[in-house]
């Protein structure tokens, strides 16, 4: 044992203890900040972090979590917090907190400095789940297809040529591509049909069949040989017939596919038509389109925000749910961590009960509880739940409940939100030109419900406004005097607003529905004023579209008809050849049967005669013997 080594170790231990007392807190603070920032995608900052090794307690005086989508705003910040870590799990490198109290929570506060992360780290944030991305994309596409009302239509100043110039139809390109695609398919089919057995094979079979000389069959061995040859010919013919029949069936199913081309072209033309109408602000006035015009965009924006949060939750829960890690190629000197934990073990991170109180960005004082904030729910077999409630001095109140359950292979997130008694004065409810006035009075209620299980998504948003009044003092710039009058007539009829919007996605099926009590009011006025004009413009646009794609459509249809006809004919001819060959084989078999039967009878008769002769000879010899004895 080295004495110097021992002394060295004692010095090192003393240094470690000293560093623990003076430096550890700052070191841990930086490390926590760095890790949390990386996972948030924007800065997370702690103030006056304190960690006590002796009683395993943690505390901080302040915490700021930057909104990754707006790095000059905090998602939330907190005041002083303190909590104790459980010792036993900590020995297993697990962080378990029984009770965590978060006071002075404030949401959406402005930051004094930019909370963006520098360069590389930002890319390592928790991304979106693919399903959520698809829902988001569907909502976006749906909203983009919503028409904006062309006010020129109401003012009688619609320029059809201008609209047509900007139309950029997509069907001609698609039909052209379809034509090429069909050409390639037709060539392939022609090649396949050309490779089918045909006249050459049928003639070869015919020769083989004629080679069987029935008249030469005299012995059972020769009969057997004839039958064997016939069987081989029959098998070959069956094979040929089967491949031709199979080809015919495939061609039938291809024909059904090709028949769908016409419908496809029709749907492309329809899409173009609707797109041109939407682009030109010439919607077909129905309750759906009017509702979409009034509330489509605001609803979509809200939905996008909810989906962004859900996407992160889902992506995270899917990541931690994976047990067997895929092989990674980490940078040198880093390695890959493999998780080994038993079901009943502590999860890596678990706050059993989080009590929070604070204020939302809208100034509503909130308080509530989050239960089981955990890195892996399967280990504790409980979902994460959240209950929040709050109110504001003006009577506005909030209730929020959430359940995030990722214990099964099919994760589920459920959210319910209710905002009541919101004063509507000074707010706008839509950017629709006829109703784009600030509200002068009214009280509103917003409800939201989301149920997202596996890939099935259902969200319902409701808004109701009571005793609503519009501040119509300022005339919107977009409206001329006549339209302003028209819009005043509309808003005078409105003292209540009821809106229900629902988004559903199941697999590839997506649907966004919207209904409001304003639909009929707006629709009535619009129909009354612009219906005939819109109809005329719509008809004209449809005619132009038909003129543009008519020739291409006819060409595709005639190509399909001719191509299909010639293929069918070739296959049917081949089939006919082998069916007639089949008949010939049957005839040959019957002839052989007959010959064999005749030969059998001949041989039988011959045998009987021989036998008779031998019997007679025996009789004669017997008689002669008896005569000689007696």
């Amino acid at each position: 044992m080295r004495k110097k080594g021992l002394i060295f170790l004692i010095i090192v231990a003393a240094l470690v203890i000293a560093l623990n007392v003076f430096v550890t807190d700052r070191w841990i603070e930086r490390r926590v900040e760095r890790l949390a920032s990386k996972s948030n995608g924007a800065k997370v900052e702690l103030y006056r972090f304190n960690f006590s090794l002796f009683d395993l307690s943690l505390s901080w005086e302040g915490l700021q979590v930057t909104d990754p989508d707006d790095t000059w705003t905090n998602l939330f910040e907190t005041g002083r917090c303190s909590f104790d870590l459980a010792l036993e799990p900590l020995m297993q490198r697990k962080v378990v907190v029984e009770e965590f109290e978060l006071q002075g929570l404030r949401m959406g506060t402005a930051r004094e400095t930019d909370g963006a992360l520098a360069g590389k780290s930002k890319k390592k944030t928790v991304g979106q789940s693919k399903i959520v991305q698809s829902i988001e994309q569907n909502v976006k596409t749906e909203i983009e297809s919503y028409p904006l009302l062309n006010l020129g239509l109401l003012e009688g100043t619609v320029d059809l040529d201008e609209i047509w110039e900007e139309a950029a139809l997509q069907s001609p390109g698609k039909i052209g591509a379809l034509k090429e695609q069909y050409g390639v398919r037709y060539d392939e089919w022609q090649k396949r049909v050309g490779e089918l057995p045909g006249e050459v094979e049928a003639e070869a079979l015919e020769r083989d069949l004629e080679a069987i000389q029935i008249q030469q069959i005299e012995t059972p061995l020769q009969a057997k040989e004839a039958y064997d040859k016939l069987r081989l010919i029959e098998e070959k013919n069956s094979d040929y017939l089967e491949s031709v029949t199979q080809m015919r069936d495939e061609l039938e199913s291809e024909a059904t596919d090709i028949a769908g081309l016409k419908d496809k072209i029709d749907s492309w033309v329809d899409e173009d038509y609707r797109r041109v109408l939407a682009m030109a602000g010439l919607p077909e006035f129905s309750r759906e389109t009017v509702s979409a015009m009034i509330f489509g965009r605001p609803v979509a924006e809200k939905m996008e925000k909810v989906l962004r949060i859900l996407g992160r939750v889902r992506n995270y829960s899917q990541k931690v749910g994976k047990y067997i890690p895929a092989k990674e190629f980490p940078p040198r000197g880093v390695g890959q961590d493999i998780r080994f934990t038993r079901k009943q073990d502590y999860p890596a991170f678990w706050i059993q009960r989080l009590m929070l109180s604070g204020e939302t960005a809208q100034g509503i004082g909130i308080g509530g509880t989050v239960l089981h904030l955990v890195s892996d729910q399967r280990k504790i077999d409980r979902p994460t739940t959240m209950q929040l409630a709050g109110s504001r001095a003006d009577g506005a109140g909030l209730d929020f409940a959430a359940v995030v359950d990722s214990r099964d292979d099919e994760p589920r997130e459920q959210l319910e939100l209710s905002l009541k008694g919101i004063p509507l004065e000074g707010r706008s409810i839509t950017d629709f030109p006829f109703l784009a006035y600030p509200l002068s009075a009214g009280v509103g209620t917003v409800t939201g419900k989301v149920d997202f299980k596996g890939s099935r998504f259902l969200a319902e948003i409701g808004f109701s406004g009571r005793d609503v009044g519009f501040d119509t003092q300022g005339k919107p710039e977009a409206l001329d005097d006549d339209l302003y009058e028209l819009s005043l007539a509309m808003v005078r009829k409105i003292d209540e607003i009821d809106l229900v919007a629902a988004v559903r996605q199941s697999g590839d099926d997506f649907k966004l529905d919207m209904r409001s009590n304003l639909d009929d009011i707006v629709l009535g006025v619009l129909k009354q004023v612009v219906s005939d004009e819109v109809q005329a413009v719509q008809n004209e646009l449809m005619e132009r579209i038909e003129d543009e794609i008519g020739a291409d459509r006819d060409e595709v249809e005639s190509l399909v008809e001719e191509g299909e006809g010639s293929l069918r004919e070739a296959v049917e001819d081949a089939k006919g050849l082998f069916i007639s060959q089949q008949e010939r084989i049957a005839q040959k078999r019957a002839a052989i049967d007959e010959r064999v039967k005749a030969e059998e009878q001949r041989v039988k008769k011959q045998a009987e005669e021989e036998l008779q002769k031998k019997q007679d000879a025996v009789k004669d010899k017997g008689k002669e013997a008896l005569d000689s004895l007696f």
Binding site: M1, R2, K3, K4, G5, L6, F8, L9, E88, M91, Q92, R93, I324, P325, K327, F329, P330, R332, G333, V334, G335, Q336, D337, I338, R339, F340, T341, R342, D345
Partner: protein, 175 residues
Amino acid sequence: MIFLKLLAKLLKVLTSGEHARQIAGGFMLGMMIGLLTMKTLFAVPIVLVLILINVNLAAAVVGIFLFKLIAFLLDPLLNALGYWILVDITGLKGFWTEIASMPIVPFTRFNNTLVMGGLIVALVLAIPLFWGVKRLVIGYREKVQEKVKNWKIIKILKGTALFRFLSGVEKLGGR
């Protein structure tokens, strides 16, 4: 330059008056530290042993330096070996799960592919390396040492600051 430093260290170790087994022991422990990343708890007992028992520290420094370089070069292979042991050998999953639930053990980061790969290679090499280095030192002292002393480069190296530093390290060993 790196090559010269390594050569100087190596010669200093070989010409020191220590027992061959002390040099081999130091080199072996250095190899273990070199192959294992310092972020694992496995490294702590090895460093303690290195400090507390009479092994040659200069040999350990050479071992650390050499095997850090080897570990860097063989990183993908060590990673693949660690992954194979931790994931592909499914029969061991229960064992890993069991020890992952024990106190302190998770701090060894045994579940890291690089740590596990390095640990296995270090354990496999330990005995053969100890024995091999011991034989090598004895052989060197008996047959080569006198010839090497007369090399020009050796005379130059003996005058360098590094050589003097390594002499200091040797004295820290308590001999």
